[in-house]
């Protein structure tokens, strides 16, 4: 089988994680970044750097867009025009209109579009979805999805308070899971507290609290936080109930390996990286294999719901989302 040719755009933290995962799948990767960091990143990972977006897209099977959100639309449209498949870091776009444009164009052109919603590839969530899809939870009643993390660097760039801060950023994880498990969302209400606009200093704290009403009648509470200290650096948990019972998870529960006492630095074991699982699944799809566990419509739904959350927090009103073919 021919080696998959991937054009990685961007050279920040996410680009680095994706690049390692692509190399792990056996793909050949060319890296382009307009910030001058592509060469160093490519050299470290055994990829090659190229000098322009056009050069990156030329002959590529897929582009992986890891640039700041504001540039996703332009790069995605260029890839679609060139017939190059797309992996795009979340969120797909900075607005629902841009996201719709990308998804419509990709569908018209027959270009595959996979959003990098990496948490769907984490085992607890994948297993939760399997249980729900197999009917083990019966009819869905309530889900609580909790994400908290410490942001290790100051917030750069300029983002207005109206843009929603954490609601359109980290909260996308919880929203995507709620949507994956319980389906279409018809109503969104959210509160947002803490540092809301960028730039913001290191250690900025924020809390987003959203209530989603699904077309099925199920309800989700999605909580998303930037914490004041890296203790713990990340904490995720969920509790999902239906007529068939409940499923819960907490990342604080020990798995195979943990440091039982003492200071052991960064020692630890977390199994296969979610990015490895994710890029392998995408690579197989680009090579003509089965479709991955998520696609363009999921990217669009996540943007719609998080944008509705931002709008709700800004206006103080619940926001209705029309869902085709569903009773509101």
């Amino acid at each position: 089988m021919r080696r998959l040719e991937v054009a990685l755009i961007g050279a920040g933290l996410i680009a680095r994680l994706h690049l390692d995962a692509w190399i792990g799948t056996g793909a050949a990767v060319r890296v382009f970044s307009d910030d001058g960091r592509a060469a160093d990143l490519a050299r470290e990972a055994g990829a090659r750097a190229v000098g322009s977006l056009a050069e990156a897209l030329d002959g590529a099977d897929a582009v992986d867009i890891c640039t700041p959100t504001g540039s996703h639309h332009e790069i995605a449209m260029a890839a679609i025009a060139a017939g190059v498949g797309i992996v795009c870091e979340k969120p797909l776009a900075a607005s629902t209109a841009e996201a719709e444009e990308i998804v419509d164009a990709a569908e018209r052109a027959g270009v595959r579009l996979y959003p990098a919603h990496d948490v769907r590839f984490a085992q607890p969530y994948a297993r939760l979805h399997e249980l729900v899809a197999a009917g083990r939870l019966g009819a869905g009643s309530v889900g609580r999805f909790y994400f908290a993390a410490y942001h290790p660097r100051p917030w750069t760039g300029h983002v207005s308070a109206e843009a929603g801060g954490i609601l359109t950023d980290q909260m996308l994880h919880g929203v995507d899971l709620a949507y994956w498990v319980f389906g279409d969302v018809v109503r969104v209400h959210a509160y947002y507290q803490g540092d809301i606009a960028a730039p913001a200093p290191e250690g900025a704290v924020a809390t987003g609290t959203a209530v989603l009403t699904h077309a099925s009648g199920a309800l989700s509470q999605v909580v998303s936080r930037w914490t004041a200290t890296p203790k713990p650096p990340v904490r995720v948990a969920f509790h999902v109930s239906g007529t068939g019972g409940t499923v819960r998870y907490d990342s604080e529960w020990p798995q195979e390996v943990r440091v039982a006492d003492g200071e052991a630095g960064t020692f630890g074991y977390a199994g296969e990286s979610v990015f490895t699982t994710e890029m392998r699944e995408f690579a197989q799809a680009f090579a003509g294999g089965p479709e991955p566990r998520l696609g363009a419509r999921d990217a669009l739904a996540a943007v719609r719901i998080t944008q509705a959350a931002a709008k709700s927090a800004w206006t103080g009103r619940a926001v209705e989302l029309p869902v085709k073919g569903a009773a509101a």
Binding site: A139, G140, S141, V142, R144, R187, H189, Y191, Q193, G194, V205, T207, T209, V211, T213, G217, A218, L219, Q221, V223, R225, T227, A228, T229, H239, S241, G242, T243, G245, T246, G316, R317, A318, E320
Partner: protein
């Protein structure tokens, strides 16, 4: 001291009666006219004194009463208790309508008796420590409270039955700040009856900008919580009123073993109520807190109907 337990409708009523029966210096009388068969079977187990009618209880002139009836009868019983100058410990919520709760508060104020709320999670040293810690700034500036209480399925809807214990915890930590706005969504997936919501999420915004968001649906198994996370800009603290002391497996039930931990909060609450009945200086939430909770619950029902946040007056 003469204390009456009014009805065994509430799931904790029997526990209260048993604790009062064993408390020194308490003369206990019980009644359950709304379900005499239930009443008789409970007092047979407890060996407590029992009369058949509300009239008989109030003619006995109790000095304190515990109101554990269905929510719809609580106003009438609190008003009758106030008439005979009995201090009142009333299950939460006081009522479904704020007007009823207001009348109960006013009746007790006029009679000069204490109206205390049966909200056990607000009692005990653990919660007092959390409350002090937050006041001392251990979480920094408190911004957000997330809480869950899953009660067992009852006749009433989840909002009416389960929201109040969580709202009382928030109210205590916020020193009685009244809510500004309430958003709520509910469904009946577990109950199968549209009029009995079995799941409810309630978000409350306070004038100070603080937000509380609670999950107060039915539990499929045993009651779970109240469990509350107090989030500040420096740290967050969890309070679990119903922690697990021991786990394991139980062959008899073929299920998970759960041995409860923490203090016996019902006992702490009753001792506080009885001890304060002479001086009116109880430490737990009072009728005004109960009224604030009812205003939030009433607004939550309205929000469920309209699909929009509701401003609380």
């Amino acid at each position: 001291m003469k204390v009456a337990v009014l009805s065994f409708a509430h799931e904790r009523a029997e526990t209260y009666a048993r604790l009062l029966r064993d408390m020194p210096g308490i003369e206990l009388l019980t009644t359950d006219p709304d379900d005499p068969a239930r009443g008789r079977s409970v007092v047979d187990r407890l060996g407590a004194s029992y009369v058949d009618t509300w009239d008989a209880v109030f003619e006995w002139s109790p000095q304190a009463v515990v109101v554990t009836s269905e929510v719809g009868r609580r106003r009438e019983l609190v008003e009758r208790a106030a008439e005979v100058k009995a201090h009142v410990l009333c299950e939460q919520p006081l009522a479904i309508e704020a007007a009823d709760a207001k009348a109960m508060v006013d009746a007790c104020d006029t009679a000069g008796v204490r109206l205390a709320l049966a909200s056990p999670a607000c009692f005990g040293e653990a919660f007092a420590t959390v409350r002090r810690g937050i006041a001392d700034g251990v979480v920094g500036t408190l911004t957000t409270v997330h809480g869950v209480y899953r009660g067992t399925a009852e006749a009433g809807g989840a909002l009416a039955v389960n929201a109040a214990p969580l709202l009382d915890l928030v109210d205590t930590v916020l020193d009685g700040e009244p809510a500004a706005q309430v958003y709520a969504q509910a469904n009946s997936v577990l109950s199968g009856r549209p009029q009995a919501e079995s799941a409810a999420l309630v978000s409350v915004r306070y004038p100070s900008g603080k937000v509380a968001s609670i999950d107060c649906g039915w539990s499929l198994s045993a009651a779970d919580g109240p469990f509350v996370t107090f989030i500040g800009d420096r740290a967050s603290v969890d309070y679990n009123a119903n922690p697990r002391l021991l786990g394991g497996f139980d062959v008899e039930s073929a299920g998970e073993r759960w041995e409860p931990g923490g203090a016996d909060l019902c006992s702490v609450m009753l001792e506080d109520f009885i001890g304060s009945s002479g001086n009116g200086q109880g430490t737990g939430p009072d009728g005004q807190a109960g009224l604030r909770a009812v205003r939030i619950i009433q607004a939550a029902y309205e929000s469920v109907r309209t699909g929009q946040p509701v401003d609380v007056g």
